[in-house]
Every structure is written in C-alpha cells, then in structure tokens.
C-alpha cells in the first residue's frame, strides 16, 4: 500500500484515537489488554482502510470496526493475562466541584457496566457516545425497535446490579 495512504491513515487515527481507547476501556480491564485490543483494532482499521470511502465519516466508520473487533474478532492473547488492575482512577479528572457521593456512584456505575455482556456493553457504549437508535441499530444489525427495547432492559439490569 502506498506511503501516502499510510500517512493519511495514521494521521486520521492519531486524531480520532480516543474512540478506540473508549472501546478498549469498556471491553478490557487491565493495561496490557487495553493495549492489545487497541493494537488489534488499529490493524483491522488499517486492513479495511483501502475500502473506506469518504461518504462515511471516518469516526463513524471507526465505531463500527472498533466494536466489531472487540465483540467478534478479538482473541485475548496470553500476554494479556495480568494482575495489574486498570483502575478507573487513572481516568478521573480532579473535578473542581468534587462531589464524593456522585464520584462514588460513577465508579459503581463503571463497575456495573463491566459486568454486562459484550452486546449490552456495545449498546451502552454507543449510547454514551450519543449515537441515535438508528445508528445503534445499523452498527449492531438489529432493528431500531429492538435496540430501544434492549436498551431499556440494559438500564433495568444496571439498576439491579447497583441495587441488588
């Protein structure tokens, strides 16, 4: 593949890399696994890039490839077995209005989301990214109605996890 293609791709990815980090954050729970999944998503994006047409937004396209890699293609490699915890604290910003109870609740929420299954996590991820149901349904390949129904079930499930 040409150098120019490589350059364009890496530049675009550098700019939009947060999308991949966010996928990794939901689907992995330690630093090594995060990096491993990040790398696999990057490889899949690069492999698919020659077929990428400008009519879709690069970021939209990234959501799809990223989630597909996390849900379907990714095989946990041996080196990701690690005891090092990827604590949410690493991501926390020292908010000016530090609210202890809210902070605590958010931490519990992240832990609850981690207990969801892969498909439920995908729904939550797209929801957190402010995607509409049309986009969610197209990314996952289910109908819009079913996406809504499932989302409501996920909300209930989260409530149950938080208040057993």
């Amino acid at each position: 593949m040409s150098k120019e293609l490589e350059h364009n791709f890496v530049e675009l990815l550098e700019k939009h890399q947060n999308i991949i980090h966010k996928v990794c954050r939901l689907y992995t729970n330690n630093y090594d696994a995060h990096n491993d999944l990040f790398q696999e998503i990057t490889i899949q994006l690069w492999k698919a890039y020659p077929k990428f047409r400008g009519d879709a937004k690069f970021s939209t396209w990234m959501y799809r490839v990223g989630l597909n890699t996390a849900i379907t293609l990714y095989r946990k490699s041996k080196r990701t077995v690690s005891t090092q915890d990827f604590s949410d604290v690493q991501f926390k910003i020292s908010a000016e209005e530090y609210d202890d109870t809210e902070e605590q609740q958010i931490k519990l929420l992240y832990n609850a989301v981690r207990q969801l299954n892969d498909i439920e996590k995908a729904l939550v991820f797209l929801y957190l990214e402010d995607k509409n149901y049309n986009e969610i349904s197209e990314t996952l390949g289910i109908s819009e109605v079913n996406a809504r129904v499932k989302m409501n079930r996920v909300k209930t499930k989260l409530k149950t996890i938080l208040n057993p």
Binding site: T42, R64, I119, L140, N146
Partner: protein, 213 residues
Amino acid sequence: MDELELLKKDWQKENGNYPKLSYNEIYKMILKKSSSIVKWIFIISILEFVLWSVVSFLLKDADYNQRFKEYHAESIMTPLMILGYVVIAYFLYRFFMNYRNISVTDSAKVLMENILKTRRTVKQYVAVNLGLMVVSAFIILSIQFNRDEEMISVIEKATANGELFKFYAITIIVTLLVLALLIGVLLLFYYLIYGILLKRLNKNYRELKKLEV
C-alpha cells in the same frame, strides 16, 4: 437522574483523559500482524482441507488398495474417487467465497453470520468426507465378501459350520465400532478446538438473535 445519564455526563467530560499515542507508535502498530479469530479460522480451515485430502489420498494409495485391482472393482472405486475430488473442489470454492465476504465494516450481526457461514462450509466438508468414508468402508467390505479369495474361503468355512450369520454380524459390528470410534475422536477434537475458538462469537451471536424474538 437516570444512572446512564449520569454516566454519560462523566464519560463525555473525560474526552481528554485517555492515553495519547504518537504518530510513530500508531505507525508501528499497522505494521504488526493481526491475531483475530478470522485469521485462526482461516488457518485451521485450510489445515482441515489439507489433512482430509491427504488422508483420502493416502487411503487410495495404500498397499491395501492394490489388492482391489485383483477384485476388478474399478467401476465402483473410480467414481468414488472422482466424487472425492468434486467434493473438495466444490467445498474449497464455497469456503473462499464465504471467506471473501467477511468484512469488518459490516454490522456486528452480518459479520458474525459470515464467519459462522465460513465455518459451516468446512464442517459440511468434513461431514461429507466422513459420510463418504463410511459408504466406502461398506462398499469395500461388500466387495471383499464377494471377491476376496481369503474372505470367500472363510465364508465357506463359516457356512459349513453353520456360523454364517455370526460371521457377518461380527464383521459388520466391528466395522461399525471402528468407524464410531473414529468419528467420536474427531467430534471430540472439534468440540475442543471450536468450543474454545468460537465460544465468545457463538454467545454474542445468540445474544443478538435473542433480540429478534
């Protein structure tokens, strides 16, 4: 406030807090090799095609097979052999067509379906091969009953002793047991390999399918 809304607020304000990889770090990544399950499925599938072709080729070439020339059973064995080649050509073609359809830019469900379809082709190939093996085993057995001189003399002895039924029953049961054992070992092998490789994919696919009911 809705729990998810609270989470969303936090999620979106954290935009700047992820690790930031440099141009060079990302560039190094795209030079690395993928370790996705599609790659593993491809490798294992090709190995299966090779293994089964080699097995059937070896069986055809064995010394044992030479004896068949004495039976003058070419009219049965040749079509079986040709059928074997047609089967592998057909399944290889279907496998590659399915494999080419796997695209990471499809929706999650279509991607999973295409991967499972590719696997199904290989499974069907192996099943057809096993079927052919069972059919061949019985054809060979029946040819031996009729044309193998040693076998004919054994049958004659058995007839003289009044144990013809016992002889047929034992031979057929032993053949069936050997075949069952062989198939059993293969199924176990399959269960282990694909159980591990496709466990997550199958689980997620079922989850998506469940949403449609």
